[in-house]
Amino acid sequence: MKYYIKKILYLLATLIGVSFLVYAAFEIIPGDPALSKLGTDATPEALAALRHEMGLDRPFIVRYLSWLVECFKGNFGISLSYNRPVIAMIGDKLPITITLTVLSMVFTILISVPTAVLMAKYAKRTLDRTFYVADQVFMAVPSFFLGILLTYVFGMVLHWFKPGGYISYSKDFPGFIAYLIMPSVAIAVPKCAMSVKLLRASILEEADKEYVRTAYSRGNSTMQVMYRHVLKNAMIPLVTFWGMAVADMIAGSIVVEQVFGIPGLGRILLTSISNRDYPVVEAVIVLIAFVVCVMSLIVDILYKRIDPRMKRTDED
C-alpha cells in the first residue's frame, strides 16, 4: 500500500514537472498573445486592458500556479485561435486517440505472443530463421509508410475499406472501430516485431530451466509447457517494454492519424502548433504526459501481479 502511495506521489510530481517545463517553455519564446489577438494597430489602452483581462500582467509564477489549479479542476483555458474552451476541443478527440492506442496494443500482444512462441518452438530451424529475417525488416518499417501501403493495398486495390472515410464514434461505433483497424495495424507492426524479438529471446532463456524439464516429464505437450509455464516467466521483461511502447504508440498515432485522415489528438496538436495556439498545445502535452504516467503506474502494478517475487524486494 505504501508503495502505491509513493508511486502516485511520483506520478503527481512528474506531471507537475512536465506542466512547469511546458508552461515555462512557452513563456520564454517571444510573442505577446494579447498583441496577436488585437493586431499591431491596437491602442496601448486596449492592449493593457486585454492583458489585464487575460492575466498577462501578473508575475509568471502566479500565472503558472493559477493555471495549474485550473487544470486540476479540468479547465485548461481558452483557445487563442478558436475562442473556445480547450477542454471542449480536446474532450471529444481524446477517445479517438485512446481507442487507436488500445487497439494497437491489443494487436501487438495478440500477434507477437503466438509468433514468438512458434519461433521459440522451432528455434534455429528454417521457420525460425525465416521469421527472424522478416522480423528484422518489419522492425525497420516506419508506421506511416506502412499506413500508406495498407491504404493502397487494402483500400484502393482490394476495396476492403474506404480510405479517408472516417466515421465518428458517436454516429456508428462498429464502423468507427472497423475504420481504426488498419491504422492500428500500421502502428502495431513495428512494435510487434520488436516484442517478438524480445519475447523469443526471453522464452529461449527460460527454456533451459529445470521447471520446464519437470513440466515436460509430467507429460505436457510443448504448447502446454509454453503457454502454462514458460510464458508466465518470459513475459516479465515484455511488460516493461509494452509499458514504454504505449508512449511511442501515442506519438506514432499522431503521425498515423494524418495518413488515414483521422481527426484525433494528433491533428489538433499539429494545427495548434502551426497556429501558435499555446493553451491547446499545453493542454494536449499535459494530457499525453498524464496518460503516459498512468500507463507506467499500471505496468508497475501488473509487474507485481505476474511476478510475486517483486513484492518482497520493493516493500523492504
Binding site: 506511416f144 501501403l149 491504404t151 499522431i254 498545445v281
Partner: protein
C-alpha cells in the same frame, strides 16, 4: 602498421552474419549520401512537365513525380539530408548524454538523484512528441528539427551512460586508477569510457535509427526539411495524394527508409552479439 592491426582485430572480433550485412548496407547508404553531396543524376529540383508521373525506366530508374522531377535524384538527396540530420542529432544526444550520464553515474549524490528524476520524466515522454514541442517553440526548419531531435534524444543516452558508469565505477580498476593518483576527468574519459564503448556504440546505432524514423515522421508532417529540398518523409506525404496514379513515388522513398534503418539495426545487433 598500428591501424592495420586495429582493423584486423576489429574484423576478428566482429564477423557475424548480422554485422557483415549491416556493414554492407550502411556502406552503400553512406556512399549514396556522400555522392549526393557532389552529384545527382538529375537536378533534384529540375522540373520537366513532359515527364510528369513517368513510370520507372532506364533513364529514370525510380520514375518521376508530380512535377516531373527525377525521383532517384530526389531520393539520393533525401538520403543525404536524412543521414546528416540523424548524424548530427545522434552526435548532440551522445555528447550531452555522455557528459550528463558520466557525471551522474560517476559522482552520484544528490545532483544525480535530481537530474535522474528529471531525466525519467523526459524519458517517459515520446521523443517525437518532445521534438514536436521544441519545434513549435523554434519554428519548423531542418536546422530546428536537428536541434529538437538532438535534445529529445539526450535522456535516453544519459540513462544508458549513467547506468554503465555506475557499474564501472565500482570495479577494481577504477579504484586502482584512483590510488595511482589519476584525476576524475582522466578516469571518466580515459579509463572508463573505452570500457563502455561497445554498449555505447550499439545504443548510438539504435539512436541513429530512431532519429531517421523521427525525422522522416516529422518531415512527413511537414515540419522537417522544407520544400523544395528533398526529404524522404516529405516525399512520402506528397506521394500519398498520387498513390493511385504513381505508386512508385511512395514506394521508393519508403523502401530507402527501411533499408537505412535495417542496415544500422543489423550493425547494432552485430556489435552487441559479438562483444
Amino acid at each position: 602498421m598500428k591501424i592495420k592491426s586495429f582493423v584486423k582485430r576489429f574484423f576478428k572480433k566482429y564477423h557475424g552474419f548480422n554485422f557483415v550485412c549491416g556493414l554492407v548496407i550502411c556502406g552503400i547508404i553512406f556512399l549514396a549520401a556522400f555522392i549526393a553531396v557532389f552529384h545527382t543524376p538529375y537536378g533534384s529540383t529540375e522540373m520537366n512537365a513532359s515527364l510528369k508521373f513517368a513510370s520507372p525506366s532506364f533513364a529514370h530508374i525510380f520514375g518521376c513525380d508530380n512535377y516531373g522531377r527525377d525521383i532517384f535524384s530526389r531520393v539520393l538527396e533525401g538520403i543525404r539530408n536524412t543521414f546528416f540530420i540523424a548524424l548530427t542529432t545522434v552526435f548532440i544526444g551522445t555528447f550531452a548524454g555522455i557528459v550528463i550520464g558520466a557525471g551522474c553515474g560517476y559522482y552520484g549524490g544528490r545532483l544525480d538523484h535530481v537530474l535522474m528524476r528529471v531525466n525519467d520524466a523526459l524519458f517517459a515522454f515520446p521523443s517525437v512528441l518532445l521534438a514536436l514541442v521544441i519545434i513549435s517553440l523554434l519554428g519548423p526548419s531542418s536546422f530546428n528539427v536537428t536541434i529538437a531531435l538532438g535534445i529529445a534524444f539526450i535522456p535516453s543516452f544519459a540513462r544508458i551512460v549513467r547506468s554503465e558508469y555506475k557499474k564501472q565505477a565500482a570495479l577494481d580498476y577504477v579504484q586502482s586508477a584512483k590510488l595511482m593518483g589519476a584525476g576524475d576527468l582522466r578516469i571518466i574519459f580515459v579509463h572508463i569510457l573505452p570500457n563502455i564503448l561497445p554498449v555505447l556504440m550499439s545504443s548510438v546505432m539504435i539512436g541513429f535509427n530512431n532519429a531517421v524514423l523521427a525525422e522522416a515522421g516529422l518531415s512527413y508532417l511537414g515540419i522537417g526539411v522544407q520544400p523544395p529540398n528533398a526529404s524522404l518523409g516529405r516525399m512520402l506525404s506528397e506521394a500519398q495524394s498520387y498513390i493511385f496514379t504513381a505508386p512508385w513515388y511512395a514506394l521508393f522513398p519508403g523502401l530507402m527508409i527501411i533499408i537505412m534503418v535495417l542496415g544500422f539495426s543489423l550493425l547494432s545487433e552485430g556489435i552487441s552479439e559479438n562483444s
